[in-house]
């Protein structure tokens, strides 16, 4: 065991040179789970599996169809849009702690790696009462892998079009008391894909789009007894990206370098009728934007100290309590700030859940102090009822909030220290039905939601000022319908799964703004009204074939309107096993029909592209790791 700990510490020290060494892939087939509409997870919560086949969380979410991703191109900035909300209105939590930048209020999903995580869940709907600031339109949960007992080594490599190379390595070892896991990733891509402006014009090739990324994720688990477990998680990452020119830009020399250090210590304590989880986290992120052409050199950085204590208690067999206390202290520096800016958030919430026959009722209230002033008060109510014949109704309502970012408040010029917090009212109702037959099962659900956000923060030219400034000048009304269907059919060793997911979303400004020119009733930029995703997956023995078809409706951009488009992706996987060895061979074809499309105007997207991957795993024990099967 001591050797294992030493290895863990050694890996911490060699991270600086990690990017110079050739690493093997680590791929592990994650459990295939569809989280049905549990009250505690919100309506329509889903989990993405097979995460490692994607280059980033952004691509995984994009192809899932669970939300809309505003992508500036492969390897470029990608931000989430749940139910017509802004990017900063999605809370992104890693093991329960938020990782959004306090400066920007968001996280670039293209920077989130796909190694070292057991679980990626995307949950539509606000729930600030539990998740805190930013959980207005949706939440994304990342959960670190739990290392298995015994030595296991997994490695592999994926290569693909446009110079894509992704090497991964995972090592885990330990026993029932001590366990560790180290995941490393080395990713490089040229991203120099060809694109066409128009069919009659010559093909161009995207330039200055290379990216390099090194990631190291580590987990150390200590379980001194059955009631206590300590986990130490480390996440270190370095990403260097060249920022390509737009299609109306001759050339670009801009680069962005991100250094990310996230550490987290958690303590899980189980008692007779209660459970305690304590998280301590520290985050330090540096972003360095450079543009030699413009003589711009703009470093910025922030640090956050996070602490969260959650106590879950069984008051009665049908009555449960959850209490949480969260504190976040952030410091940020940037050339745009006159001095280091700080922010404190102290939140306390109380949740009660009661099971009354076929009813499950839950209510959550939260008080939040921002910079020790306030408090802000939000709440969340939810109820579900199971009827006969596997029908189920869920109702949710709540008030959610997002505090202004440090850039909104302090950026010179235009930052507004007097900005108010954004508040939303959201209501949602869902009807679900499970269907069971001898060789098939299905699950269908339809959600209808309504959300109004007041104090929406918008940068604009106010009072004839010659510069842009942040103000609580907008009000946005979002509403929509989200049908969802999943159907399984199996026969012998064959299994067919079909998933349909559709979003119809109207997200409109309720106030007119002069500059930027926004008309009352206008749909938010880059927010499609229609989004349809169909996934078909066929499994037989150790083979998996997957096909995804997506339709994204037309959107309005800041400069130009964007046409609707269809995309298709094809995946083939083979999972051989031989004694202590297991493997995975992957063939992926993205944008199968070579669609010429844009998500953001003037930002080209790649046509048909391929990825081929091989991963090999070795387990020291005779007994293979438990294989995940379809539910």
């Amino acid at each position: 065991m001591r050797k294992s700990i030493l290895l863990f510490l050694f890996c911490c020290n060699v991270f600086r040179t990690f990017g110079q060494t050739g690493l093997l892939d680590s791929l592990q087939e994650l459990p295939e789970v569809v989280v049905r509409s549990k009250v505690q997870n919100g309506v329509g919560a889903t989990t993405i599996t097979g995460l490692e086949q994607f280059p980033s969380v952004a691509v995984a979410l994009e192809q899932s169809g669970m939300l809309f991703i505003k992508s500036y191109g492969i390897g470029s900035l990608a931000t989430p849009t749940f139910r017509g909300g802004a990017a900063g209105q999605t809370a992104i939590l890693w093991n329960g702690l938020p990782i959004q930048s306090p400066m920007l209020g968001l996280t670039d999903l293209s920077l989130l790696p796909t190694i070292g995580f057991d679980n990626l869940a995307a949950v539509p709907g606000g729930k600030s009462a539990e998740a805190g600031s930013g959980a207005v339109s949706g939440r994304i949960y990342l959960s670190s892998s739990t290392p298995p007992a015994g030595l296991r080594i997994q490695g592999g490599s994926t290569v693909g079009s446009f110079g894509y190379q992704n090497q991964q390595l995972a090592i885990s070892n330990g026993n029932t008391r001590w366990r560790f896991q180290v995941n490393g990733q080395l990713l490089r891509a040229e991203n120099d894909f060809p694109y066409q402006i128009r069919a009659d014009l010559p093909t161009k090739r995207l330039a200055h789009a290379q990216q390099e990324q090194q990631v190291l994720l580590q987990t150390l688990v200590w379980e001194p007894n059955a009631r206590n477990k300590f986990e130490l998680h480390g996440w270190q990452q370095h990403t260097l990206r060249n920022l390509p020119p737009t299609t109306t830009q001759n050339r670009s020399e801009a680069t962005q370098e991100d250094h990310i250090y996230r550490q987290q210590l958690s303590w899980h304590a189980h008692k007779a009728k209660s459970y305690w989880r304590t998280n301590l986290g520290f985050t330090h992120e540096k972003i360095h934007y450079r543009d030699p052409q413009l003589l711009v050199d703009a470093p910025s950085a922030f640090s956050s100290l996070l602490a969260k204590v959650v106590r879950k208690q069984t008051l009665k067999p049908t009555l449960f309590s959850e209490t949480g206390l969260q504190f976040i202290q952030s410091w940020a520096t940037a050339d745009g700030y006159r001095q280091t800016q700080q922010q404190q958030q102290l939140g306390w919430y109380q949740k009660l859940t009661a099971e009354l026959g076929q009813w499950v009722l839950a209510t959550t209230g939260r008080l939040e102090l921002v910079d020790f002033s306030g408090p802000l008060a939000v709440f969340h109510l939810q109820a579900s009822h199971d009827f006969k014949n596997d029908w189920r109704v869920e109702v949710r309502a709540g008030r959610n909030f997002r505090i202004p970012t440090l850039n909104d408040r302090y950026w010179a010029q235009g930052g507004n220290p007097d900005l108010q917090t954004e508040f939303s009212w959201e209501q949602e109702i869902a009807l679900a039905k499970e269907i069971h037959a001898s060789r098939s099962s299905g699950f269908a659900k339809i959600n209808v939601f309504n959300r109004s956000v007041a104090n929406w923060i918008q940068w604009s030219q106010q009072d004839n000022a010659a510069f842009w400034s942040a103000g609580n000048i907008a009000k946005v009304w979002s509403r929509g319908v989200e049908p969802y269907l999943i159907w399984h059919y199996w026969r012998g060793e064959s299994n067919l799964k079909v998933t349909l997911r559709y979003h119809f979303i109207l997200s409109t400004y309720q106030t007119a703004i002069q500059n930027p020119a926004i008309a009352r009733g206008a749909q938010l930029w880059y927010t499609p009204q229609h989004q349809l995703t169909t996934q078909v997956e066929y499994r037989r023995k150790k083979w998996v074939l997957g096909y995804t078809q997506q339709y994204v409706g037309a959107t309005e951009g800041i400069n130009d309107d964007l046409s609707d488009y269809h995309l298709a992706h094809l995946t083939a996987k083979w999972f051989p096993q031989w004694r202590r060895w297991d493997g995975q061979f992957l063939l992926q074809v993205n944008n199968l029909y070579n669609t010429n499309y844009r998500v953001i105007e003037r930002r080209p997207m790649p046509g048909r592209n391929f990825q081929v991957g091989i991963q090999v795993g070795f387990t020291a024990n005779e007994k293979l790791p438990p294989k995940k099967t379809l539910p």
């Binding site: 801009a254 000022a465 510069f467």
Partner: protein, 321 residues
């Protein structure tokens, strides 16, 4: 002999109006420097005054700046004070430039107020030039993705006299990609003379910029233009309203909420408060003695108070802080 006599007498019959050229050399700027903070609220050269506003909190400016920056290579907003010609017009060192937001006014002063402006030189800033030539992360390369987009960057100069906009205006294309033959497309990279005498008698000019590259956040092309050698005349061609021989005292100026106008005549006068772009904001009757003007509801900036009495007129600038 008669010919010589006629030649000598001609100037007596055809007195040419005197001209003054505002070349901005009077600021004595060292090479590679710029002024973006006019302590009096205007940069004055020759017979023109260029309004400027500076925000010390944000180190931000608007209106006009004076520059001797010669950088013709650096792209982007960090080089916003440079003329792409690399120097002033006619080989001079100093020139003016304006960031145009809703119209940049140029006020004629002294004997030039109310008289024609013969013309001036204009060119692009290096920032705007390269933005149009190569595109940047906000603005498009002129010609667009295909090279065929009919893009343009248009300077419109409007004339004003006593708060009224002249019927005519003068257009000048700082870039023009509207030609069917792309070889004719151009972006102005040197000083170009713009004839303005056609505007007639004016007491202020307002510069507006328009581009074919626009988005929801307004014009994407950097809204800058450089100006030099403004040639004003000192005699009005035809004085519509002769100037009052006196001017009312205005205090405090600058002011934040209220301004007093001390009207020295017994007969009342008419006052008109306008923006620098000529938009009439309010009319007042100016009575003998002190008149209080409430300007609290107007945003900070420079305003013009025109005053008239018995067919005579004048104007005074008021700065709202």
């Amino acid at each position: 002999m008669r010919t010589i006599l006629l030649f000598c007498l001609l100037p007596l019959f055809f007195q040419l109006p005197a001209q003054t050229t505002a070349g901005f050399e009077n600021f004595g700027l060292a090479p590679g420097a710029f002024l973006n903070n006019a302590s009096s609220g205007t940069f004055a050269s020759g017979n023109v005054a260029l309004p400027n506003a500076y925000d010390s909190v944000y180190d931000a400016w608007s209106g006009w700046a004076i520059s001797t920056v010669t950088d013709t290579e650096t792209m982007g907003f960090t080089n916003q004070y440079a003329a792409v010609a690399g120097r002033g017009a006619s080989g001079s060192d100093t020139y003016a430039l304006t960031y145009v937001f809703g119209g940049s006014p140029m006020v004629l002063t002294g004997a030039a107020a109310g008289a024609p402006v013969q013309g001036l030189y204009v060119t692009n800033t290096t920032y705007a030039y390269f933005s149009m030539l190569f595109g940047d992360s906000f603005a498009k390369q002129f010609g667009g993705e295909t090279g065929d987009d009919p893009d343009f960057f248009l300077l419109t100069i409007k004339g004003f006299l006593l708060g009224e906009e002249k019927a005519d205006s003068v257009n000048f294309y700082l870039a023009d990609y509207r030609f069917s033959d792309n070889a004719q497309d151009y972006i102005v990279a040197d000083w170009m003379y713009v004839e303005l005498a056609s505007l007639g008698n004016v007491d202020s000019l307002v510069f507006n910029l328009r581009s074919s590259d626009n988005g929801a956040f307004g014009m994407n092309t950097p809204a800058y233009v450089c100006v030099d050698d403004v040639q004003t005349t000192d005699t009005p061609v035809r004085v519509r309203e002769p100037a009052l021989p006196w001017a009312p005292a205005v205090f405090p100026n600058p002011a934040s909420d209220q301004v007093w106008i001390r009207w020295p005549a017994k007969e009342p006068g008419l006052g008109e408060l306008s923006t620098m772009q000529g938009q009439l904001l309010q009319r007042y009757q100016l009575l003998a003695g002190d008149n209080l003007l409430d300007i609290s509801r107007f945003p900070a900036g420079l305003y013009v108070l025109y005053y008239r009495q018995d067919g005579l007129a004048g104007h005074v600038l008021i700065r709202k802080e």
